[in-house]
Symmetry: C2
C-alpha cells in the first residue's frame, strides 16, 4: 500500500462519504457550502488528484467499460443502439472486459457520471454514442486522459492542436446514395427525401447522400428543393410529410421516398399505400429495424456488430501495455448495406 | 488490512492472474492441469473461501448489480427485455446502484459468470430473467448466499425446505384472459390461440388464460382443441398457423386470434388481411412491442417499468443494513393491460 492520497483517504479525513467527495469534484452544486469548503481543503492538504492522475498510477485495470444508455423514444429507432449494446457486451466479454451502464439527462450529466464512475468504480474507459456538434464530452475525457472511443464521428472541425480521438461511424450519406441508386434502377426519377430538420449532424449526412445522388442523375436543384422535407422523427410526421409531397399534380409528385429513419418511412408507407402487397410508391427507410423487417420495408442497414467490434479494438489499443499513438487509422468509417424488401416497387 | 485470504493473495502466492484463480473456481476445464493443481493447493493452504464467505466479511458494497443480456432473436420480442433493462438501469442509478452486463450461452455459463463477477468485480447482487422449470441458477445463488431477484416467477414446485426467493413477474394468464374478454365484447365466440408448443412455462401460462376464458363462455372443450396451436415463435410460423386454422368450413373457423407474442400475431395479421384498414379477423398479440404500435396491432402490455422498480426494491431489501426476512411479500405478480388498436375488429 502506498501513501498516495485516494478518494477513500480524502473521504475519511474529511469525515464524509466517498460519494460526497465525488460530488465535490463532479457535481459541487449538490454539496452544502460548508461541506464543499471542508472537502476542498482536505483535497488541497493531501494533494489528491482525481481521475487521470490516479489512473496513471494505478497498476491494475478494472477491465470495465462505461456506456450511457440512451432513453427509449418510440422504440423503433432505439433498437439500433440496443443492438450495438448487445454486440459490444458480447465482444467485450470475449476480450475480458465488462460493460457497465449508466444514464444521464444530457451531456453535462454524462460528464458528471464519468467523474463519479472513475472515482468510485475505477472504470477503464468509455464508449460514447450520439456524437454531435459542440460535444463537450470528448474534450472532458481527453483533458482527463481517460481512454474512450465514440460510435459516431466528431462533427466539429478538427482541433487546432491536431488532437483527434478514436471513433467508429457508419457512412450515412453512402447509405442514402445507395438507396437512391437502387430506386433509380427500378425506374424512379422523382425521389423525395423525408428527413429531420437541418442542423442534426446525422440527419444532414443522410440528406447529403440523397441530394448528391439525385443531382447526379440530372435532376435540377430547383426541382430537388420541392422534394426535401425536414420533420420531427415520428411515424405521424412521416405520414403528414408524404401526404403533403403527394398533394400536387400527379406528373410532378415523387414516385419514391428515401427516409432518414424507419419511423418516418413507416409513416410514408401508411400514407401512400393500403399495404405492402398493393404498393403505389416506393419507400426506403434507414436502420433496418425489426419493424422494417416485419412490414416489408426496404431499409439501409448499419453493420452494428462490426461497429461494436471495431470500437472495442480501438479502445483496447489504448488500454494495452504500450498504447498505440493516435493516427488516422483510429478513425473507422463503415459502409451500410441495403436490405431490399417489398416496399421497393418499380416506377409506374 | 486484515490477513483474510483473498482472490488476489491466492493469485500472488500461486503466481497466476486473478482471472486464472477465478477460472480454477468457476471454469476449471479452461485451466491446464498443473496450474489447476497448484492453485487448488494454495487455496487449501491459505484457507481461501470464495464468493459468499468473502462477501459476508466485506464491509463495503460495490453497489453493482449484474444482469445477463439475452441474445437478440428476431428483434421483436427482445424489445421487452431491453425495455426492462432501460428501466432497471435508470431506477438503480437513482438509488445509487449500477447495472453491469454480461452474456452467457446457457444456465451453466451464466453460473460460471456469477462466480467470476463475484470474485473479480465483487458484484453485490444479480437480476435474473427468463426463469424456467429446473432452473439451476437460483439454487446456486441461494447456496452461495448471493442476493438476487428474478424477473419471472419460479416454475418449479416450492422447495421442501420452504425456502423461496424474491421475484417479480407479470401474470400472463390474466393478460390472455383480458384479450379473450375484449374479443368477446366485440362479438367473437370462436377465438383461437396461436402460441408456442406446450412445455414452455411462460407460453403455457398464456395459453391457460385463453383456455379458461373461452371455456367460461360456454365453448365445449372438444371445440377448443381445434383452435389451439403451438408453433415456434416467428412471423412465418404465425402466418402458417393462421392459414391452417382458417382452412375449413367458414362457420367453424375462428373469427379472432389471441397470440402468445407479437411475432406470431404479426404473422396472423399478414395471413388474414390485406392491411389494418381492411380487416377480416381480429388479432391480439402479446408484449406491446414497437412493431405492434407501428402496425396497429392490439397487444397485451407488460408493466415493465413497474416490474423493474419492484425488482430493484426487492434487491435493496436484501442489501440494506438489516436484510428483511424472506416472506411472501417478496413475491410480486403484476397484471398486464391491453393496448387496443385497429386489429380489434368486431365479429362479422
Amino acid at each position: 500500500m502506498d501513501a498516495r492520497p485516494t478518494l477513500q483517504s480524502v473521504a475519511e479525513r474529511a469525515a464524509v462519504s466517498r460519494q460526497t467527495v465525488s460530488n465535490v469534484l463532479n457535481a459541487p452544486h449538490l454539496v452544502r457550502p460548508e461541506t464543499l469548503e471542508r472537502v476542498r481543503q482536505v483535497i488541497e492538504e493531501v494533494g489528491y488528484r482525481p481521475h487521470s492522475a490516479a489512473r496513471q498510477m494505478r497498476t491494475r485495470r478494472s477491465r470495465v467499460i462505461g456506456l450511457r444508455l440512451q432513453p427509449t423514444v418510440d422504440g423503433i429507432n432505439g433498437a439500433v443502439l440496443d443492438q450495438f449494446l448487445h454486440a459490444l457486451t458480447e465482444h467485450a466479454q470475449v476480450r475480458g472486459y465488462r460493460v457497465m451502464l449508466f444514464t444521464a439527462p444530457d451531456d453535462e450529466g454524462e460528464i458528471a457520471q464519468y467523474g463519479e464512475l472513475l472515482d468510485t468504480l475505477e472504470l477503464d474507459a468509455f464508449v460514447l454514442t450520439s456524437t454531435h456538434h459542440g460535444d463537450p464530452r470528448t474534450r472532458w475525457l481527453a483533458d482527463h486522459e481517460v481512454p474512450f472511443v465514440t460510435f459516431g464521428r466528431p462533427w466539429d472541425p478538427p482541433a487546432t492542436d491536431g488532437r483527434s480521438h478514436a471513433w467508429v461511424d457508419v457512412d450515412g450519406a453512402t447509405g442514402t446514395r445507395a438507396a437512391v441508386e437502387h430506386l433509380q434502377e427500378l425506374g424512379h426519377r422523382r425521389i423525395a427525401f423525408v428527413g429531420w430538420p437541418e442542423g442534426s449532424d446525422t440527419g444532414d449526412d443522410r440528406r447529403r447522400g440523397w441530394r448528391r445522388a439525385v443531382l447526379a442523375s440530372g435532376v435540377a436543384a430547383h426541382e430537388l428543393a420541392a422534394w426535401d422535407v425536414g420533420v420531427p422523427d415520428s411515424v405521424a410526421d412521416g405520414a403528414d410529410a408524404a401526404a403533403t409531397l403527394l398533394d400536387g399534380p400527379e406528373d410532378a409528385a415523387p414516385t419514391a421516398f428515401v427516409c432518414a429513419s424507419d419511423s418516418l418511412a413507416l409513416g410514408v408507407l401508411a400514407a401512400t399505400r393500403r399495404d405492402a402487397a398493393d404498393p403505389s410508391v416506393a419507400v426506403v427507410g434507414f436502420d433496418d429495424t425489426p419493424v422494417a423487417r416485419a412490414v416489408g420495408l426496404t431499409s439501409v442497414a448499419q453493420p452494428l456488430t462490426e461497429a461494436a467490434v471495431r470500437a472495442l479494438q480501438l479502445l483496447l489499443d489504448q488500454l494495452g501495455p504500450s498504447p498505440r499513438p493516435a493516427t488516422d487509422d483510429h478513425h473507422v468509417l463503415l459502409s451500410p448495406s441495403l436490405a431490399v424488401r417489398a416496399s421497393s416497387v418499380p416506377a409506374p
